[in-house]
Every structure is written in structure tokens, then in C-alpha cells.
């Protein structure tokens, strides 16, 4: 049964010759109509049944196959007069210019030919460089007089999109496509290489069409509307036009009509053929449908984002996939994904029945299609498919034998690919293990949110089920979540704790936090650590556990590590392990001796030290286990301790508010002083700035200082007792600036980096006097969120906010395009076995990847080897 796949080695491009067109045609189309009144295709019309079938039930008159099997057959139209192919018009012009009008030879003498041929030989295979040589040669030829027959030089003028004129002296003569074709025919084959035409597959005269291929009806199917009215494809419409004009042109020529009429019709034919190829050709009006809609012709079908290439060829639709809303589940592993039952019943994996799994498969088949894990189809040894239904399931199970294939439903432990758009990096698609669950959403561990950039406000994600053993093992080995904890972008964890995990870790491990043994036992049980990492006996002697003791249960037994925690105050003189704020973490041989665990230990995307070391030194299995258990433990603990935030978290006592008011008042006065100095003309100009800029800068600096001072004044009252502060300082959520904005003062609102000044003449709002430059009138918000904003302040604030929104919208578009270009340029590069980086033409980009051959995701902080760490490890081992 195994088929050796056909491999396409290369694809040759070329121009179709008229003979080729006739040869591949099954029919010369001569009737401009499609269907007759009874709805039957007209013989020799555009919908002739020999061109393929689009109606189910009918048979193709050429190959006898049914709809869906017959891919259709080409027909052709004999053009009454030749027309220029628009796509080649520019090339035709270049060729016409560089060949002799009489003898047809390229206007270069032997020496010159020799020269360019040598150059062609020497240039690389790259099209671009050959093109340059050819262009150079042709330009040279265009400027010379024919060295072979010496006929006088005439200029060929090209008028877009498809008209050629010959100009000499004061005269001007239009070249008809017949003339053009004649000249191109005269070019000797030996000259083809120098005009850039491959003699094996193309001839220049074929760029002028005498026969037009008619694509099969399968390419341009007509659709039947509800009212049983047939609606034809745009291409068919265009072909009807072409045939009709072609017919009229022929009749007129045969009837010996005046030259003028023939020329007009000829021009019209040219127009229709042109728009048939490309309906957005500049210089001519686009062909329209009767309704006024612009027709989508061949070029439009291929190009652009919705075109054939980008939409259908580079992007493909797939089976065995699912999409639904995601929601969090902190109790599943980071490696897992919760798949709803109804999805699991729909997705299947083909599994071969062998002697070893026969019984298992029978059991699965007996479950039927509606009970997971069941099966939906079986494929018998002879290749026949059989659907399993609730009524047939037992019979099918009996019939099952070695050599059959069972299309079994998704079950626990299967490897699937999970993806969230926009897929900006490779971590946007990772492999998970399935956990079939009730309800309707995909379930996701919270630690995996950062790489997907997922949240749960309605995000949907996609799931794909690999169908072959090879694909599954590949996904499991290299795409598994645990293998991607370290980002290839900067070599540090992108998967890790966030939000409550961080603040929870702080609450658990800070000095003085203690838990009674019963609670601890409960927590360990809840998080599945009891008897896994710790024995029940451990609770016998001890009455009270410190949070640090709890945490060290999760650490590898031989880990020694020191680092500063996130809340580190960056004192001038660091006391290291004697830090009085407990912000210096010391782990020795798996014991957490000092320091509080917070963002710096295991927060995703933040150079977290502990997680980084565990993953890199102990491997990804250990890393996954650490994350799984630490998060579960913390959830249990934080539920006991409790963490919340409310408006009272940013309450400031009366004296503090007075102090803040005072600071702001002072700033306002200073601003006014500056303005007065400016008005009096006493303000000193800063070099390279106008006087007004100087004033603005000074005011901005003054107000920024005021905001900082007000913030600092408020911060004095914002101690670690307040939960919002805990969140900010540990790196769980928000920062101190956010808090001071809530407690003290929002500060200056800006648009494009300037104070707000537009809206009305000389003022931002009609509440102020024209020309008022004071802080209040230019968008300084002195209220806090806690206090509430005045109407004008609120308006200013939304102005600043609006800019942010516009910025984001513009930025996504710009960075998206940049990324598309980057990917397109770099995608073919790969590391070879000699560690050089080469592209697909085997050009060497780098002799050694990154100059040291190191994979960033395996580096430590960008460096190949973390020598300090190795020394540290060696030395600590010694002190045992």
C-alpha cells in the first residue's frame, strides 16, 4: 500500500507557442454564447462539455470522467489578427529597439557579441546579474546602427500599455502587432541568448498572440443562484467579449470593410485581450461587469494577499483541526492542553491494528463514535472504509483484524499542535499532550500564556492533530512546550510564573510567614506533592513550617544559587546575604536560606534566575516539573493567605495629600514664573532652539519633576502592607508609577511628545483664555485616579489615551509588513553540517553561525559558556 511519493525536481517556465496552444486544445471555440435557452451548453461555445464538467452527474465529453475527477481541458480561440501580450509588451519594446529593422539581427558586431557572451558565461546563475549583462548589451545595441546591413537607425517608441511607433526624422509610423510579429520572427535563433530569450522554450514572436488558449470550465465555473439564474465567472465574461469582437473583426476583414473600421475593431480586440490578462493595466480603463463592478481577471486572481499564490498556494487549509475559546486551568501541566469531549470525538488518528493492540482497538471500536475514546471509521485491509455507528459498533469490533486501520478518536496523551494567531514566532505553535475534559473550551496552563500572548477575554486558539507516527514523534521531541521554555530570541525563559504566582510566592516565602503543619499538609496534598516530593512523615515532628521551608521542597537537592530578588532596592552598598529587606536570595544545596522568592526567580520574560538555571542545568523535564508544582503549591498557599486590592490600597493620609498639593502648587507657580519671564522677553534661549521651544522644555521639565516628587511623596505611605504595592514590587502586576498615578497625580498628558495645545485657536479647550500656557490649560492633570479627574482633565486624559490607541493600530500594520519581509528574505537560510550558514543556492552567508556556532536558546545570557557559574558550581561542591 505504501506509495513512493513523486518528487518534483524542478519547474521549467516558458512561453506557449501557437502550436502548443492548438495541440493542447480540445476544441476551437467559435461561439460567444454559453448556454442556450434550455440551459444546455452550446456546442463550440465557452461552456462546451468537452472543456470539462462542473455539474455533478454529467460526464466530460473528452475524458469521460465525472465532476471532480476531470480536471478540465483547454480550448482555443484563433484570433483574426494578432495582438500584443501586455505582460510582455515591455520586453517586446526592448527587443524591437535592439534588433535591426531590416535584417532582424541584434545590432552588435562580432567583437561586442563575444564580449557579452563571455560576461554571461562568467556571471553567476543569479537571474539578476545575467539580466544586467543582457540589459547592458541590449542598451548598447539600441543605440547603434546595424553593423550587419547598415540600415538606418530608427527609434521605436512604446506607448503604454501596448502601442508601438517607429520614429525617424520628423515622421512617425504606427507598428501594428503584425509588423511587430514580423520583426520578431526575423531575429535569428543565435541571437536569442543576448536578448534574454531561452531558445529551448521561448521565441520572441510568441509574445505576440495569434491564438488564445481558453481555460477549462473548471477554472471558471458558473454558479447557479437560488432563482436558478446562471451567473458566469468573470473570465467567461471576458472571453465572451473577446470572441464576439474577434468574430466581428473577422467578418469585417472578410467583407473588405474600410481600413479604419478594421483598425478600430482590432484595437478593441487588443483591449479585451489585454484586460483579460490584467484588468488593472495602467493607461486603460478597467473592464467592468454589467453592474459596474470591476472584473477580476487572470492577474488579479494570482496576485495580492487574496490571490492564488499567497492565499491558496503558500497557505493551505487543513483537516484534523479544531478551534474554540481558551480558558485557564492551573491544575493541568504546562505540557498539556484540555480538549473538550465534543472536539475529541470529532478528531481522529489512524492507528494500524497489530497483534499487540488488537484487543485495545476492539475496545475502542466498541465505544462507538459517541463515547470518547471511541473510533469513527475503520479501514479494512482492502482499503475499504467503514463508518462506525452505535448500531454497528459491536459487529465492526468483531470483524476487526490485524492489518486493519482504525480511525480512533483523540484520547489522553495524544500529541497535538496548539496555536494562537498572530503566529509571530515559532513559540506560537507548540506541541501539547491531550487531556480530554468536559465543557466546551480548550484549557491552557497559565504559564504558557506569555509565548502565545494569550489571555482569556475571549481568545480562540487552534489545535491540529498530526496524522503520522513520524509527525507525532517529531512534534513531541522538538515542539513540546517544555522544550520551548527558553526563548530562541534571547535565551531566557518565556514560559514561567506570572501575576498571582509571583505575589503568591512572595507571600509564601517572605520572612515571618509561617504555616501550621495541617495547612501545609493540605497544601502539599492539593498540589499533588505529597508522597511525590515529600513524605507524610515530615509532618509528624514539626508543628510550624516557614514559607521558605515549603518552597525548598520544590528545589533540586544539589542546587546552589544566589541572586537579587525583584524587590531589591538597589542600595548603594549591597549587604548581600545580610540584606535587611530579605531581598538577596541564597539557595544552598537545595535549601532556601535567605531571601524572598518573587519575579526575579521564575517570572516569564524577565531574566528569571532560578527557573533559567533549573531548565538549563537540570533539563526540561525538571523545568516542567518545577513549574507545574510551584504554581500548584502557590495557588494553594495564596488561597490561604489571601491577596486582594481595593481603593484603600492607594489611600494617603491628610498630611501626605497636603504635601502633594504643595508640591504641585509650587510647580504651577514655577511654570507661571517661566511664562512671565518669557513674556517679558527675559527667558534665556537654549542653543539650537527657538525661544518657545525653550519655554516648553522648561515647563515640561518642571512638571515632570513635580509629578515625580508628588509620586515620591505618596510612595512614602505606600508600604508593603498594601497588596497593590506587593504586586508592583514583586513584579506580579503593575509598577510603582501606576500606583503613584492612582494615589498622587497623573502628570502631564502629551500628544506627539508635546503638551496638549491643539483643538481651538490658541487654546486646547474653550475653558481657557487664548494663549494660556499654564500647566492646567495645556493638559497637566494634577488629580489622581483616586481623587478623580475634573472634566477638563478627563478630556485631556482621553486625548493622551487616543494617541496610544492610534499608535498601536498603526504599529501592528507596520511591524507586520516588516516581519513578512524579514521572513521572506531569511527563510531559506540554514546551518549546514560544517556549521556554516548558507542559503538555498548554497551561497555562504556566515562561515560559522553567529561567529561561534552557538545556538542562542542554548546560550547563557548570550554567551556560549557561563564560566562564572561553572566555577561557582565547582567551588561550592568542594565545600561539602
Amino acid at each position: 500500500m505504501f506509495k513512493v511519493p513523486k518528487v518534483i525536481d524542478k519547474i521549467q517556465f516558458g512561453v506557449l507557442s501557437p502550436d502548443d496552444v492548438r495541440k493542447m486544445s480540445v476544441l476551437r471555440v467559435i461561439t460567444a454564447d454559453t448556454y442556450d435557452d434550455d440551459g444546455y451548453p452550446i456546442e463550440k461555445g465557452l461552456m462546451d462539455q468537452r472543456l470539462g464538467v462542473i455539474d455533478p452527474g454529467l460526464k466530460c465529453k473528452t475524458c469521460g470522467q465525472k465532476f471532480g475527477d476531470c480536471s478540465g481541458h483547454f480550448g482555443h480561440i484563433e484570433l483574426a489578427r494578432p495582438v500584443i501580450h501586455v505582460g510582455h509588451a515591455k520586453d517586446v519594446h526592448k527587443i524591437l529597439k535592439s534588433v535591426c529593422r531590416d535584417c532582424g539581427k541584434l545590432k552588435l558586431d562580432d567583437a561586442q557579441r563575444q564580449h557579452y557572451r563571455e560576461q554571461l558565461e562568467q556571471t553567476s546563475d543569479r537571474l539578476k546579474s545575467k539580466e544586467t549583462v543582457i540589459k547592458e548589451g541590449m542598451d548598447k545595441a539600441a543605440k547603434s546602427v546595424c553593423p550587419w546591413c547598415g540600415s538606418d537607425k530608427r527609434n521605436i517608441k512604446f506607448e503604454k500599455p501596448y502601442t508601438f511607433y517607429e520614429e525617424w526624422d520628423e515622421e512617425r509610423n504606427k507598428l501594428t502587432p503584425i509588423d511587430v510579429r514580423e520583426r520578431l520572427e526575423k531575429i535569428p535563433v543565435e541571437d536569442y541568448d543576448l536578448i534574454g530569450v531561452n531558445k529551448d522554450v521561448s521565441k520572441p514572436e510568441w509574445m505576440v498572440l495569434t491564438v488564445l488558449p481558453v481555460p477549462p470550465v473548471t477554472v471558471r465555473p458558473s454558479i447557479t443562484l437560488e432563482s436558478s439564474v446562471r451567473s458566469e465567472d468573470d473570465l467567461t465574461h471576458k472571453l465572451v467579449d473577446i470572441i464576439r469582437i474577434n468574430q466581428r473583426l473577422r467578418e469585417n476583414i472578410d467583407a473588405g470593410a474600410p481600413q479604419l473600421i478594421v483598425e478600430d475593431l482590432w484595437e478593441l480586440l487588443q483591449y479585451h485581450v489585454t484586460t483579460y490578462f490584467n484588468n488593472s493595466t495602467s493607461g486603460i480603463p478597467p473592464a467592468r461587469h454589467r453592474s459596474g463592478r470591476i472584473l477580476k481577471t487572470i492577474s488579479q486572481r494570482l496576485s495580492g494577499k487574496e490571490g492564488r499564490f499567497r492565499s491558496n498556494l503558500s497557505g493551505k487549509r487543513v483537516d484534523f483541526s479544531a478551534r474554540t475559546v481558551v480558558s485557564p486551568d492551573p491544575y493541568i501541566s504546562i505540557n498539556e492542553v484540555g480538549v473538550p469531549e465534543f472536539v475529541a470525538c470529532e478528531l481522529t488518528v489512524p492507528e494500524r491494528v497489530t497483534a499487540n493492540n488488537l484487543e485495545e482497538m476492539k475496545k475502542i471500536v466498541r465505544n462507538g463514535p459517541n463515547k470518547n475514546p471511541g473510533a469513527n471509521y475503520i479501514i479494512r485491509s482492502d482499503g475499504r472504509r467503514k463508518k462506525i455507528t452505535d448500531t454497528t459498533k459491536d459487529d465492526v469490533a468483531e470483524e476487526l483484524d490485524v492489518g486493519f486501520t482504525v480511525e480512533r478518536q483523540l484520547r489522553d496523551g495524544d500529541i497535538v499542535l496548539f496555536n494562537r494567531q498572530p503566529s509571530l514566532h515559532r513559540l506560537s505553535i507548540m506541541a501539547h499532550e491531550v487531556r480530554v475534559m468536559p465543557y466546551k473550551t480548550f484549557r491552557l496552563n497559565l504559564c504558557v500564556c506569555p509565548p502565545y500572548n494569550a489571555d482569556f477575554d475571549g481568545d480562540e486558539m487552534n489545535l491540529h492533530l498530526p496524522q503520522t507516527e513520524e509527525a507525532r514523534s517529531e512534534a513531541g521531541i522538538i515542539m513540546k512546550v517544555q522544550e520551548n521554555i527558553i526563548s530562541p530570541r534571547y535565551g531566557e525563559p518565556v514560559i514561567g510564573g506570572m501575576q498571582d504566582y509571583i505575589s503568591g510566592a512572595y507571600l509564601m516565602t517572605r520572612d515571618g510567614s509561617e504555616f501550621p503543619a495541617e495547612e501545609v499538609q493540605e497544601s502539599f496534598y492539593e498540589s499533588g506533592l505529597l508522597q511525590n516530593k515529600i513524605e507524610v512523615d515530615a509532618f509528624n515532628e514539626r508543628k510550624v513550617w516557614t514559607g521558605k521551608e515549603l518552597f525548598e521542597v520544590l528545589l533540586p537537592k544539589d542546587l546552589s544559587l544566589e541572586f537579587r530578588s525583584k524587590a531589591c532596592r538597589k542600595c548603594e552598598k549591597c549587604e548581600f546575604e545580610n540584606c535587611k529587606y530579605d531581598n538577596y536570595v541564597v539557595i544552598k544545596e537545595g535549601k532556601l536560606l535567605k531571601g524572598v522568592i518573587d519575579g526575579a526567580a521564575f517570572k516569564a520574560r524577565s531574566s528569571c534566575k532560578l527557573l533559567d538555571k533549573i531548565v538549563k542545568d537540570y533539563g526540561s523535564d525538571e523545568g516542567r516539573e518545577f513549574l507545574d508544582s510551584v504554581t500548584k503549591l502557590i495557588i494553594s498557599i495564596i488561597m490561604k493567605v489571601g491577596l486582594t486590592t481595593g481603593i484603600d490600597d492607594v489611600d494617603i493620609p491628610e498630611e501626605g495629600l497636603e504635601r502633594i498639593d504643595e508640591i504641585l502648587e509650587n510647580a504651577h507657580n514655577k511654570v507661571l514664573e517661566n511664562i512671565e519671564a518669557y513674556n517679558r522677553g527675559e527667558l534665556e534661549k537654549q542653543p539650537g532652539q527657538t525661544l518657545e521651544d525653550t519655554l516648553e522644555n522648561r515647563i515640561m521639565a518642571e512638571l515632570a519633576k513635580a509629578r515625580d516628587n508628588a509620586g515620591a511623596a505618596a510612595e512614602k505611605y505606600l508600604g508593603m502592607k498594601r497588596h497593590a504595592v506587593i504586586m508592583a514590587k514583586t513584579g506580579a502586576k503593575g509598577n510603582m508609577l501606576d500606583l503613584t498615578q492612582m494615589a498622587a497625580c497623573l502628570g502631564q498628558m502629551t500628544v506627539r511628545g508635546k503638551r496638549l495645545h491643539r483643538g481651538y485657536q490658541e487654546r486646547s479647550l474653550p475653558h481657557f483664555k487664548p494663549g494660556d500656557r499654564s500647566a492646567k490649560a495645556r493638559g497637566f492633570v494634577s488629580s489622581s485616579y483616586r481623587k478623580g479627574l475634573s472634566p477638563t482633565e478627563f478630556f485631556f486624559h482621553s486625548m493622551g489615551g487616543r494617541e496610544g490607541l492610534v499608535d498601536t493600530a498603526v504599529r501592528t500594520a507596520q511591524s507586520g509588513y516588516m516581519q513578512r519581509r524579514l521572513i521572506n528574505a531569511l527563510q531559506d537560510l540554514k546551518v549546514e553540517k560544517d556549521r556554516s550558514v548558507r542559503d538555498n543556492s548554497n551561497n555562504i552567508i556566515q562561515f560559522e553561525y553567529g561567529e561561534d556556532g552557538v545556538d542562542p536558546s542554548r546560550s547563557s545570557y548570550g554567551e556560549a559558556v557561563d564560566i562564572d557559574w561553572i566555577i561557582h558550581k565547582t567551588v561550592t561542591m568542594r565545600k561539602e
Binding site: 519547474i11 517556465f13 516558458g14 512561453v15 505582460g87 510582455h88 520586453d91 534574454g196 531561452n198 531558445k199 529551448d200 521561448s202 494570482l302 496576485s303 499564490f309 498556494l313 509571530l424 514566532h425 515559532r426 517529531e474 522538538i478 530562541p488 530570541r489 535565551g491 537654549q686 539650537g688 499608535d807 511591524s815 516588516m818 516581519q819 519581509r821 524579514l822 521572506n824 528574505a825 531569511l826 527563510q827 531559506d828 540554514k830 546551518v831 556549521r835 542559503d839 543556492s841 552567508i845 556566515q846 553561525y849 553567529g850 556556532g853 552557538v854 545556538d855 542562542p856 542554548r858 546560550s859 548570550g862 556560549a864 559558556v865 557561563d866 564560566i867 566555577i871 565547582t874 567551588v875
Partner: protein
């Protein structure tokens, strides 16, 4: 405590397995650790052995799609960058393009960057003194007649241009009326220049009103002194030395000025660097500029990704754009080019040239539905009979 010669000897053994950079660093660190912890011979050997293992472990796998990873690593943070084009780069007030627009500008290899800036260091004699720096600034800073005049206008009745000079500014730039007149005479069409007090009157002979307007614009922007295209120069003290920052860039001319340190002065215009200092310098400057921009935004991207991009852009000896007119437009595969941009043009051209698509890249193989020749798709297995 082991003897340093032991460390050296041990390192020498591993030289083949490590890079020079790591060997040097290992040596330094081992010397230091030896002082601090007085290592034993076994420990030294084990540290070196562990380092070698760690290095071997960190090497890339053959077939790795490093290009795609690099592109993603540079593209993904794009969504997090600011769009704020202008920012003050610390220095008094020279505007530089930052954030996403700057990255796009570099990747596009744009010929005229939005905000060309030079950072000029001074040579050993001059770098310590502000006076020297100011002298050099005078040489550098572009001075037009407009920048040293209080007002300029066209006298329509006499068909002449009247310039009111600013003495203070002239003095600052070290220009005299004589100098200015001499420079202005070099302009075409100038017939006579009269000076009275601080007024210069330029006559341009018999011209129409249209012409005198054009002439006025030419006079206004006529370079009297300094480097062309440098609009402004500022001095900043960095540590012990004075550094000149300029708005507008012209490295070639700046290098001709005595007192300028040729080894360190640099521009942010990549094409200019290529012209003046060569392609290797340009490559380096692409790396530095991207790195600087990303760092400024607080984004971490491994330097290897940036180097790969820079190497690709400069591989053929000239700076090539990432995009239709550069790398993507010169790919060997027709299908890859067609699926990027301007689809039909590429197909037409391919037909005429009778091109053959070797189907060796990623896009082509996706299009025809075959495994891509990267990573696991690059590995061929042959069954043993």
C-alpha cells in the same frame, strides 16, 4: 592554589575544542578564581572540562532554520516598539529616529535616513579641550547666509536681494564681510555686491521676477562655510573628553578636518559608512544600530540574530535591502519571488528567460506540497536492507 602555567597548559589542550574568545575569557576567570578560592589541579581541569562540554552542548544543530528564527526574533518585538519617531537621544537636543521606524529604515537600507547624525571624536591632542572642540565645530557646522543674517528679502523695484547681516553670529562663525562677499561671488549670476553698514545688496543683472525668486533661494542656501549637509553641531562632554554630535552627516568631509579621530568617529548613515569605510564597517554599523535601537526600547534580542541579518544584507559587497528590490527580489526561485510581491511580473519574466525553478527553498516546496529542506525535512533516511 595551582600554578598559572598549569592553567595555561590545560587550556592549550582544549584550544581546538573552544573558540579563542572563550579560551581567553576562561583564562582570565580562572586566574581570578585561583586567587580567590585557590583552586586545586583537579578543580581547574574539571572547570575546563565542564566548559568544553557546555560549549559543545550549546552548538547549533545542523539544518536549524536560523534564518527564520532570526527573522522572527527581530520581527516579533516589533509589535512592542514605540512608533514615536522622535526622541531626544540624551544629547542636548539632536533628534534621532528611534523605535520601529528606525528598524524599518535600516532593514530597508534606505539611501537617505530620516535623521542622519554623526558622532565625531577628537584625536588625542584635541579631545580634552573645549576650545579645540569649538574650533572644529566651526569647521564642521554648515553656515549659510541665511543663518548669519537678521533678515533677507527681495527688493522688487531694484531687482536685487537685500541681506541684513547679524554681526554677532558672523563673529561666532568667524566670518567677515569680505569672506562672505568672496563666497557669494562664486555663485552664478551674481553681478555686483554692495555693502553698507550691515546690509548686503546683491544684484543679479537683468532677470525676471521668477528668476530672481529662484536666485533668492539659491543665495539663501549657499554654503559659506563648513561641511555640506551638516546643519548643526553640538559639543558634549563624555567622561574626560569632548565629543561633537552633528545633525546631518558627511563622514568623508569630516575626516578631512584636522583634529578628528578617524578611528572612532562614526555616522548613523549606513550607506555613507559603506562609501567611506567599506562594507565590513557597514555590516558592523547595521549590527550596532539595530542593537542600539532595540536596547533603547528595552527589548532583548540575541546579537547572533542581528549579525545574520547584517551578513545577509552585506554579503555581496554592497548593502542590499530586505525586500522586493533587494534580497527577496533576487531569489533563485520564481515561485518564491512570485509569492512575495509583484506576482505577475516575475512569472512573465520567468517565461521569457525560460527560467528553471530548482525548488530548493522553503516557499517553493510549500507551494508544491513537498517537505521543506530545513530541519528534519533536511534529513534523508535510507532503509537498511
Amino acid at each position: 592554589m595551582v600554578d598559572t602555567s598549569f592553567i595555561d597548559a590545560q587550556l592549550e589542550n582544549q584550544r581546538e575544542n573552544l573558540t579563542q574568545f572563550i579560551v581567553d575569557k576562561l583564562k582570565d576567570k580562572l586566574y581570578m578564581a585561583n586567587e580567590k578560592y585557590s583552586l586545586s589541579e583537579d578543580e581547574v581541569s574539571s572547570i575546563i572540562e565542564d566548559s568544553t562540554k557546555a560549549y559543545e552542548h550549546s552548538l547549533v544543530d545542523p539544518g536549524e532554520a536560523v534564518g527564520t528564527v532570526a527573522a522572527q526574533s527581530l520581527g516579533e518585538p516589533g509589535t512592542q516598539m514605540t512608533l514615536n519617531t522622535f526622541h531626544y537621544a540624551g544629547v542636548a537636543d539632536i533628534n534621532v529616529t528611534l523605535g520601529l521606524p528606525r528598524i524599518i529604515e535600516i532593514v530597508d537600507a534606505r539611501k537617505d535616513p530620516d535623521t542622519p547624525v554623526m558622532r565625531i571624536y577628537l584625536n588625542e591632542e584635541s579631545r580634552g579641550s573645549r576650545e579645540k572642540a569649538e574650533e572644529i565645530v566651526k569647521e564642521i557646522e554648515g553656515t549659510t547666509i541665511e543663518s548669519i543674517s537678521k533678515s533677507m528679502k527681495i527688493d522688487v523695484i531694484n531687482m536685487s536681494i537685500v541681506v541684513e547681516l547679524d554681526n554677532y553670529k558672523m563673529e561666532k562663525q568667524g566670518l567677515t564681510i569680505g569672506d562672505i562677499k568672496e563666497k557669494l561671488y562664486k555663485l552664478k549670476k551674481v553681478e555686483s555686491i554692495e555693502d553698507e553698514d550691515n546690509f548686503l545688496t546683491l544684484k543679479a543683472g537683468d532677470v525676471s521676477l521668477m528668476e530672481i525668486r529662484k536666485f533668492f533661494n539659491r543665495v539663501r542656501s549657499h554654503q559659506l562655510k563648513g561641511i555640506k549637509s551638516v546643519k548643526r553641531a553640538l559639543i558634549k562632554k563624555e567622561g574626560e573628553e569632548y565629543v561633537i554630535y552633528t545633525e546631518g552627516s558627511n563622514l568623508g568631509e569630516a575626516f578631512k578636518i584636522p583634529g578628528v579621530d578617524l578611528t572612532r568617529s562614526i555616522s548613523n548613515d549606513i550607506h555613507e559608512i559603506q562609501r567611506v569605510l567599506g562594507i565590513e564597517a557597514a555590516r558592523r554599523s547595521i549590527v550596532d544600530e539595530i542593537k542600539k535601537t532595540l536596547e533603547e526600547q528595552g527589548l532583548e534580542v540575541d546579537i547572533r540574530h542581528i549579525m545574520l541579518l547584517a551578513d545577509l544584507m552585506t554579503m555581496e559587497g554592497e548593502i542590499k535591502q530586505i525586500g522586493r528590490h533587494g534580497i527577496s527580489g533576487e531569489k533563485s526561485s520564481i515561485l518564491a519571488r512570485a509569492s512575495f510581491e509583484v506576482t505577475t511580473n516575475h512569472l512573465m519574466k520567468a517565461a521569457k528567460f525560460g527560467e528553471i525553478d530548482p525548488l530548493s527553498g522553503v516557499t517553493e516546496n510549500v507551494i508544491i506540497g513537498q517537505p521543506i529542506p530545513l530541519g528534519t525535512g533536511n534529513v534523508k533516511l535510507i532503509m537498511k536492507k
